[in-house]
């Protein structure tokens, strides 16, 4: 093997909990006994090493790297930069100035569109962008929790889109077709959405447990099935289509079912955020404090060992997919009862199911990590629209930056190489041997 580094043991191992395999576990002890270290590093060096090369540092630097890549894209496609590049060697200052103007203009409008707008009068108006950020983050938190929970069990749920659409179809139908008292109506719709998502996720878990069908394939396929199913229902009178309309669109939600705004009509933030925070706490409790969560994680680390230990692995697959699907379904519910209450079409999921994958990866599948990652991505979304409106930079750049963040986070050795950071795994391995 020519492309494997020989001086440091398994660079990828310390990084991601998911990519390690049976082979990696087998190789672990062989590698760690190999090199004989001359003397143990001081405690201070270990601590610095952990901070500089640890996962939080990698996350921050990944975001920095991705923003730099985004800046390059913005600069390259900027018209003034292109014009001044023609005479770069005659007057380099012109081009550098143009680059600075393009990039700083873009990122300042990104900030003003997502956190605080200095041009508006007073704090209450200025903070509105941050409220938009929270609103964009709400479904990302819920769906990200669902995907992240799947990751902890070793399942890769790409079916966010399908689970959201089925949840939306059920909750939406309850929302416009039934007549119930205000509070109860909302709760019934939320429960209906949870059931819809859980059902669509549960199919995947069931297939995986009973036939071994790979969840990546079945979730992708079920996304399309759900999309066509909901498209069909949306254009069928008597199902989800608005009466008297020819468009494939549902009627608006009734007032009794819509999530009320949290901080007054001025801001878009609604009750969905409370649901999201409750979901974070519940998922944290399940994973860290319940025996079900313990079994989930055991299956995620090593399904064979879990089976030997008496855990019903198939049941864990089914239950984790049911919970995962329900959480993703909740994101769909918050979309139609909180954000788009005027009726939905088949594009209502708005790519949240896929964004949630990147959110879960950035949050390292931990509930609070996902919470902050979702707020960051919500900020990108809110700011991206502002950037598109103010600077004419297509919102697609947000996709580029988001995916680059995840790529860099997934490969800590790459980020360490770029910034010449130490590898904490080297020290961690050594201290482990000493402990033994």
């Amino acid at each position: 093997m020519t492309d494997q580094p020989t001086n440091e043991p398994n660079p990828g191992l310390s990084s991601s909990g998911m990519s390690d395999t049976g082979i990696a576990h087998l190789e672990g002890p062989l590698v760690s006994t190999g090199p004989v270290e001359p003397e143990p590093p001081s405690r201070w060096r270990v601590a610095m090493n952990e901070i500089m090369g640890g996962s939080i540092m990698i996350s921050i630097l990944s975001i920095v790297l991705a923003m730099v890549a985004g800046a390059i894209l913005i600069a390259v496609t900027d018209k003034t930069v292109q014009a001044t590049a023609g005479y770069f060697f005659a007057k380099p200052g012109d081009m550098l100035n143009a680059v600075w103007l393009a990039v700083s203009g873009a990122y300042s409008s990104l900030f003003q569109g997502s956190v605080y707008n200095f041009r508006r009068e007073g704090f209450l108006n200025g903070i509105k962008p941050f409220m938009d950020t929270l609103n964009f983050a709400t479904p990302l938190i819920m769906a990200g929790l669902g995907i992240g929970l799947g990751f902890r069990v070793g399942l890769f749920n790409i079916g966010g889109r399908g689970q959201m659409l089925i949840a939306i179809a059920i909750a939406g139908w309850i929302g416009f077709a039934l007549d119930l008292p205000a509070g109860i109506h909302m709760i019934v719709a939320v429960i209906g959405g949870l059931i819809g998502g859980a059902l669509w996720g549960g199919i995947v878990g069931l297939l995986k447990a009973k036939t071994g069908a790979h969840e990546v394939i079945t979730t992708i396929m079920l996304n399309f099935v759900a999309f066509y199913l909901v498209s069909f229902l949306l254009r069928t009178p008597g199902a989800l289509q608005a009466p008297g309309s020819n468009n494939p669109k549902s009627p608006p939600m009734k007032d009794t079912v819509v999530f009320p705004p949290l901080f007054g009509e001025r801001y878009s933030v609604n009750l969905g955020l409370v649901f999201a925070i409750i979901a974070v706490i519940i998922v944290w409790w399940i994973l860290e404090r319940s025996s079900l969560g313990f079994k989930f994680k055991a299956v995620g680390y090593n399904p064979n060992a879990a089976r030997v230990a008496g855990i019903n692995v198939g049941a864990m697959f089914i239950w984790s997919m049911v919970i995962s699907g329900a959480l993703v379904g909740l994101a769909g519910v918050s979309q139609i009862l909180g954000t788009v209450t005027t009726g939905f079409s088949s594009g209502i999921d708005a790519g949240i199911g896929f964004d949630a994958i990147t959110v879960a990866l950035l949050g390292r599948s931990k509930p609070w990590g996902i919470f902050w990652a979702a707020i960051l991505f919500g900020a990108f979304k809110a700011g991206g629209y502002a950037m598109q409106a103010a600077q004419g930079i297509p919102i697609d750049i947000v996709l580029v930056v988001q995916s680059m963040i995840v790529l860099f986070i997934a490969a800590p050795p790459l980020v360490r190489a770029v910034f010449h950071l130490p590898t904490p795994g080297v020290f961690r391995k050594r201290t482990k041997i000493e402990a033994v």
Binding site: I23, T77, A213, M221, F232, D396, L399, S403
Partner: protein
């Protein structure tokens, strides 16, 4: 596969091995379900009238007669035949024999004829147009599926087919417009697909990142990049960047005169001919050359391959890159072969259908090609039935490939087994 041939070779020295046969009732059960569907649709819910199958296009020199079938009678005959095949399949399982592929093929064909007759009652079914559209819709799927087969046979899961195709479509449109040469565009598409593969391979093989994660993220990255450049560069100046020269149709002298098949297969653009060659080369290469043996060995048992001196990482890296180039050509088909310009998100999930074709085709280039053709046919059938007024909602026809794939991975349609080391990084 090689293990089977070895045991049969070892049987020469008179050792009779005890054989265990697991009765697998999945085939007869699936047949039975389809037969019941046929009974419900064709017989109990039969539609009056005659169905006419139009075999040739109006413009061709040799005209075949239009086949006229009475709809209800056809439905009854076909349902009886389907029931017979189901019974035969059940009999074979009872006597401990498998249901061979040709029975499945006949069964599927009969059901299809019955379905077409039923759906097109009182109308003319353009069989020729149906098949011609199938070739057009399947071409990118076949390229994508071949890319998937090469990559996964070498042990790297290729979820990034969609990204490779989209990158290929974008770059081919751009290069073909800038150079004014469609072949340069095709080459550009291959390079673009390869670049996406380089990232996939580097992260999967060197940094040992979960291959599915890299694939999914790469799809998003390519989607973002192409949409960004489309919105900033291409729409600003479409004459300069997004009006690619398209491939002309080439008639192959003698072969194109064959009725039905001739115009269908041999009056196509060069990219379709390249597709024929690619399918053959990938199949022959994988199973009859040293290259193929190496690819399959690093995908099935990398440790064994490493022991005999094959460089696992290097082999995987270059074959993932090759897979990207092949999938990239599928992307070029969108811009240079059919649509003629790049659009945002123009592959629209074709890469995922190609992935489904890889799995449904059991990681075999020929079977994956067949699966891609089937998916292309289902998509085209939906639009043709929409024109002649089908009783089945088009969404359910569009759903069909995905449902079939789910059944395939769940083991109802044949056994689908991935290469043993597929998706597992090799750590020496």
């Amino acid at each position: 596969m090689s293990a089977v041939s070895q045991t049969s070779g070892a049987g020469a020295d008179k050792i009779v091995l005890e054989k265990a046969f697991v009765k697998n009732w999945k085939a007869p059960i699936s047949f039975g379900v389809v037969t019941i569907v046929a009974l419900l649709l064709f017989v109990l819910n039969g539609r009056e009238g005659t169905s006419s199958f139009k075999l040739t296009a109006d413009a061709t020199a040799i005209q075949l007669p239009v086949i006229q079938l009475p709809t209800v009678a056809t439905g009854i005959v076909i349902t009886v035949l389907l029931a017979g095949l189901t019974a035969y399949s059940a009999y074979r399982v009872q006597t401990e024999r498998k249901t061979p592929l040709w029975i499945v093929a006949i069964f599927a064909f009969l059901f299809l004829v019955g379905f077409l007759a039923w759906a097109g009652a009182g109308a003319s079914i353009p069989v020729y147009g149906l098949l011609l559209g199938t070739v057009a819709l399947s071409a990118p799927l076949i390229f994508g599926a071949l890319g998937g087969v090469i990559s996964e046979r070498s042990g790297v899961v290729n979820i990034a087919i969609e990204g490779q195709m989209l990158a290929g479509a974008f770059v081919s449109a751009m290069v073909a417009t800038l150079t004014g040469n469609a072949f340069a565009g095709l080459f550009g598409a291959m390079v673009a697909g390869m670049l996406v593969s380089f990232v996939l391979a580097a992260f999967a093989i060197k940094y040992l990142v979960d291959q599915i994660i890299v694939g999914v993220v790469l799809n998003v990255l390519v989607l973002g990049l192409t949409s960004f450049f489309y919105s900033t560069i291409m729409t600003a100046n479409p004459q300069m960047f997004n009006q690619p020269a398209r491939f002309p149709r080439i008639e192959i002298p003698v072969l194109s005169q064959i009725p039905i098949i001739g115009p269908l297969l041999f009056q196509q653009t060069i990219i379709i001919y390249i597709m024929y060659v690619t399918v053959f080369v990938v199949w022959y290469g994988l199973f009859h050359t040293r290259w193929g043996l190496r690819v399959r060995s690093v995908g099935e048992h990398p440790q064994a391959a490493d022991t005999v001196g094959i460089k696992v990482g290097v082999t995987r890296f270059w074959n993932v890159s090759l897979a990207g180039a092949v999938a990239g050509m599928g992307g070029a088909y969108f811009t240079l072969g059919s649509v003629g310009a790049f659009n945002k998100e123009m592959t629209a999930g074709a890469g995922f259908i190609a992935l489904a074709a890889v799995i449904f085709g059991q990681w075999d280039p020929l079977k994956a090609t067949m699966a891609a053709l089937l998916f292309g046919f289902a998509t085209n059938l939906q639009s043709v039935l929409g024109v002649i007024g089908s009783p089945v909602p088009s969404e359910f026809m569009l759903m069909l490939p995905y449902v079939v794939t789910i059944l395939a991975v769940a083991g109802f349609v044949g056994k689908s087994r991935a290469p043993a080391a597929d998706g597992k990084p090799y750590i020496k």
